[in-house]
Symmetry: D2
Amino acid sequence: MSTRPTFADITDQFAAQEIELPSWAFGNSGTRFKVFGTPGTPRDPFEKIADAAKVHELTGLAPQVALHIPWDLCDFDELTAHAAGLGVRLGTVNSNTFQDDDYKFGALTHEDERIRTKAIDAHLECIDVMDRTGSRDLKIWLAEGSNYPGQADMRGRQDRLHDSLSKIYDRLGEGQRMVLEYKFFEPSFYHTDVPDWGTSYTQVAALGDKALVCLDTGHHAPGTNIEFIVMQLLRLGKLGSFDFNSRFYADDDLMVGAADPFQLFRIIHEVIRGGGLNSPDIAFMLDQCHNVENKIEGQIRSVLNVQEMTARALLIDTEALTKAQRAGDVITANDIFMDAFYTDVRGDLAEWRVSRGLPADPIRAFRESGYQEQIAADRVGGTQAGWGA
Amino acid sequence: MSTRPTFADITDQFAAQEIELPSWAFGNSGTRFKVFGTPGTPRDPFEKIADAAKVHELTGLAPQVALHIPWDLCDFDELTAHAAGLGVRLGTVNSNTFQDDDYKFGALTHEDERIRTKAIDAHLECIDVMDRTGSRDLKIWLAEGSNYPGQADMRGRQDRLHDSLSKIYDRLGEGQRMVLEYKFFEPSFYHTDVPDWGTSYTQVAALGDKALVCLDTGHHAPGTNIEFIVMQLLRLGKLGSFDFNSRFYADDDLMVGAADPFQLFRIIHEVIRGGGLNSPDIAFMLDQCHNVENKIEGQIRSVLNVQEMTARALLIDTEALTKAQRAGDVITANDIFMDAFYTDVRGDLAEWRVSRGLPADPIRAFRESGYQEQIAADRVGGTQAGWGA
Amino acid sequence: MSTRPTFADITDQFAAQEIELPSWAFGNSGTRFKVFGTPGTPRDPFEKIADAAKVHELTGLAPQVALHIPWDLCDFDELTAHAAGLGVRLGTVNSNTFQDDDYKFGALTHEDERIRTKAIDAHLECIDVMDRTGSRDLKIWLAEGSNYPGQADMRGRQDRLHDSLSKIYDRLGEGQRMVLEYKFFEPSFYHTDVPDWGTSYTQVAALGDKALVCLDTGHHAPGTNIEFIVMQLLRLGKLGSFDFNSRFYADDDLMVGAADPFQLFRIIHEVIRGGGLNSPDIAFMLDQCHNVENKIEGQIRSVLNVQEMTARALLIDTEALTKAQRAGDVITANDIFMDAFYTDVRGDLAEWRVSRGLPADPIRAFRESGYQEQIAADRVGGTQAGWGA
Amino acid sequence: MSTRPTFADITDQFAAQEIELPSWAFGNSGTRFKVFGTPGTPRDPFEKIADAAKVHELTGLAPQVALHIPWDLCDFDELTAHAAGLGVRLGTVNSNTFQDDDYKFGALTHEDERIRTKAIDAHLECIDVMDRTGSRDLKIWLAEGSNYPGQADMRGRQDRLHDSLSKIYDRLGEGQRMVLEYKFFEPSFYHTDVPDWGTSYTQVAALGDKALVCLDTGHHAPGTNIEFIVMQLLRLGKLGSFDFNSRFYADDDLMVGAADPFQLFRIIHEVIRGGGLNSPDIAFMLDQCHNVENKIEGQIRSVLNVQEMTARALLIDTEALTKAQRAGDVITANDIFMDAFYTDVRGDLAEWRVSRGLPADPIRAFRESGYQEQIAADRVGGTQAGWGA
């Protein structure tokens, strides 16, 4: 008698799934060589939220939208109401201390106290925004580092980073948290101040319970076993959020699941194994660039990819797997694992979607909705949103 | 009796060395996150040439400047005269078929004949420029590829690439050449149409003697033994030019020799071994970004790094090395090799520089010249040159 | 009206598929740290062939077995008859010039003519074996290179390699071929004499039509787009054979499809695109190590993985894909591609298998057959086969 | 007035340097493809110690020798006396829980309590050895992990690892310590139980002050900034020891400084920056394989490489560097850093060596000593030491 879960067994679990969208995914993005614009690209945070709400409307998966400050600076009471009106909420607030000339050689780590203070203040303002929007998480990605050996005192920067983060941490209110993202390289090409999970972990562990690690799936050295890190951070109680995307080379920021769907499956398996699925303590966000594909469709495809891999991972016959693992039966253990991955859940998911009043095929529904044509016609004039690089 | 060359023995060889500077190195550059501007950045090709000429004036190493079209479009008769007046020549012409909206999904490889023809024509215009400037080489870097599996028909693109290159090849005049650069990834993140030396080689071999490979030292997969490729291309008679720079991670475009000076030494050793040093058939160019350092100083440091590693590589005791290699004496062979690398040639080079009427320390001389202050004061208003991304 | 193929449409194509097994996969293997032995491991080529035949009996996929000389030296008339009696044939002959003390510093590339001649002779003896076994292909993997900069004259070695290969090539008989494998690194850790497809290609292109490239899927730098190389070699008419396996890090030699099934799907898509599927000119071999899993099951799983991914790749709706590619519709093109990958063909394949008199689940059938228990009981005493390292 | 240190200024610092040799470096080693034997290779721990003592006699740098249990099992009172008689001491004790059939699927992490206990006991026996030899450090390298997704419960293994390490930790005596090594991959090819510094750090931090991290310079993902990790571990007070070696690809175990001398320089700079140079709390060990070069010469070259790079790193003009860093003067900071690296200290070191009664050129002295010929003649018969793989 099989102990393998059926689709019905797992419905409740993926039904509860929520994936947070990044407002900037709807703006233009590209490489240092070229940013291609596209008709209909939002010109302000309100239009970004509208696009995000469309993704949620068609998938039921994405009720929350992350903001990036200062890119999304506006009247946050209005924005909050606008979002609510469209059926979504404002979520994680992302700080930016890498686009001011003062930050050329660092922000929270800078040698100059004036600049450090400026960078700290920028974060405090983000917390002000959180107070207004009701956001829980302040996400900090530090684009800091150096390009040449000798350019920077890595040790001193690490100490200053701790001091700066402490000041920001102290400002966090009730129910607010800080998540610290790490990244292997870029925009710095010799050293990065928070290059790996170990650094992020030791920095946040030194602060307290409200500081956690943010794991961006594209921010690792080649060959890194990312699901191992997911396991470890869950074990240590320090996984605060995901930035999902996928990559073949560097921080490619492709649609999550596009480059290596099996890796996404393995990551979600460890999330489930560690009790992280649908945990209120972990934010599942996207952080992607849609350089060449339609941005709204790219977001829809991405949340569906996460949902599909979650469903597959939930189908693992855990009891049989454990038995095979204990027996040292490598082939059977791997077969059980792969069986779940290879099971095509798309038909079941489409049916389930329909049962919830959602379109069976959200991308087709988007195309048939005329939304893209509408925004292309409406959003004429003004400056398309982008990264401001 | 040692067979190791002395500094005097090698003087003639490095005295003949010429390194070509890229005009774009003097403009602003950065990452997709931010481009930092700096006082004194050139606003047009004439100012770029002036900065490049300063590098040559202080080092005697850089009599030629590569152009990038359309970034450097101007009156080329004037520019040629301007360069000559400053003691330098115009060199390799670099084409750009990656910044027009039409090229979003390819240029020379595009499915649409109209766009392919447009891209071919852009290259023909580059050859027109070469006719005006007297440049020998057309350098083609193809920023083409795809971001997602299934997005593109890689095979068809390869065939179309051959057709497009053939049409450009046919337009080459007497004494003109085409060099085809390869790159592992970026700006495309799934496939790149010319990703490795094998592809560049097979494409140019199918064209004829006037088509050669350009090796950019930053364009390889992690761990690639670049000096092996240098050896192989020299052996095959197909090494047309170098784009020198250095990297720790991806195409970081750091100053050549900065990340791994020993690698630069090994590359130049293979250039010497293969008869490529000071060969009229090989262009030794820089292709770098000075995102955070002074750009003119960055170029000076780079050409000096190439010169220093050339001098060290020339000091290898080839006779003793060969003997140790034949004897299978690994320790001695490696010791002989390292002995040359570890020999500090800087003092000798400074003396030699003085003997040629050049400053002993070109970077100090640049700082003392007041040139930077002068251009910062003069170059006010207008738009600083950059990549136009 | 969909243009997507049905399972019935593609049956003939995968029905013709043949995958060659390596005799050495049935012997013990491991790492430099430890080789674990297992009950039932073959002690001679005859027992290896018996195990391979079992794989074919249960899957119908593996009618041919590759040999490794000298590991499989024996009376080849007897071995040929033994194989035929078990329903399989002897296939590719693999040479070994890396386990004799003379080859410490090279074999076909060695500075010493005596050793080069010895290595050439070892290959001529392999061709003698081919004459006896009726094998078509001589597969050459060169474990040659150096560990330290300066240790070896890479250029001279490349020239000597050409000379040695020429002598071997000249001995090839009617209908015989040579395939030259490349490998990024290991057992040498600084330079490898045939490290990439470009080197293998240029070496075999210099020999003639009977020399081709062997692509081992585990022998590339991190991040390499392997399907691109498959495409390119097919385009150049120089893909002679595959060594299938999978990897997360280096030359891990895991079961093909285990590390990244989507990559295997993409590779087979390019095989189909390039006309290579079921081509008589391309040998589809496995080259794997089963360090911790049951070896016969490991081989069964591997050939099934290739078959499953072939079936999925054949399901791509090529017509619709081409249309989406031409339209620059990235999302649709990727969706069509992924749709085939995500389609679960396992049930259809099981039915088809049964229709051909094969077990629906070959691994279960193997377990129920009692074969493993039988060989564990029978193969007592003697020396278990391994790599003799 | 320059603030750059002179050679005289730094003499005391490098004079105090001690580098620990691994006993196994004198035995045979190789790859999974072949282990080449050489005349004179030790047959037992006593001969290994004799070879190690020769390295110390000629360099004055290596007064301590690390042992590997069970490879070096013998009468430790005799061995201690033997070492003392030759002027060296016994040092770090390395455990081995990867070569017993029981450990095929893990040792300290194994699902089966019996096997875990056996592995724990093996470590307790190592501490018994330490009690006899007076060694301070127990070094634990865990060759544990899995080859296939699904094969192992990574999370459970991490918990069991903690339990096992705790039991070993509790047995540590006064003045004894445990250092836990991490490694990116090999011999496992999907997951490794201690794959990165973060995991080693969090495991040892959970134990107490006597548990520290061991950093092997060859055990990182491609591109990893190792000096950053050195900095971080020193900052966290958890750097217990180094395993020095170098690599181009994976865990190549080449002579330290051979692959990238500039990287070694940067690592030692961070050691100095963090107060780790000549710290009694940090063991500076080699962990290398001399597959193709003379083993004793390989060890001499390695300790000299560390000494030379230490001397260069000590020559950095820290005051000027700090000033340039604070000023954001990238070119000057990098120049100051490189100036020390490029300074040829070999002549000064040779003179200093002579002043201490050591040979100017230890490798030449070794060759002239006749030691190698002597051991080749003497060590006939018996079994050459190796890894027993």
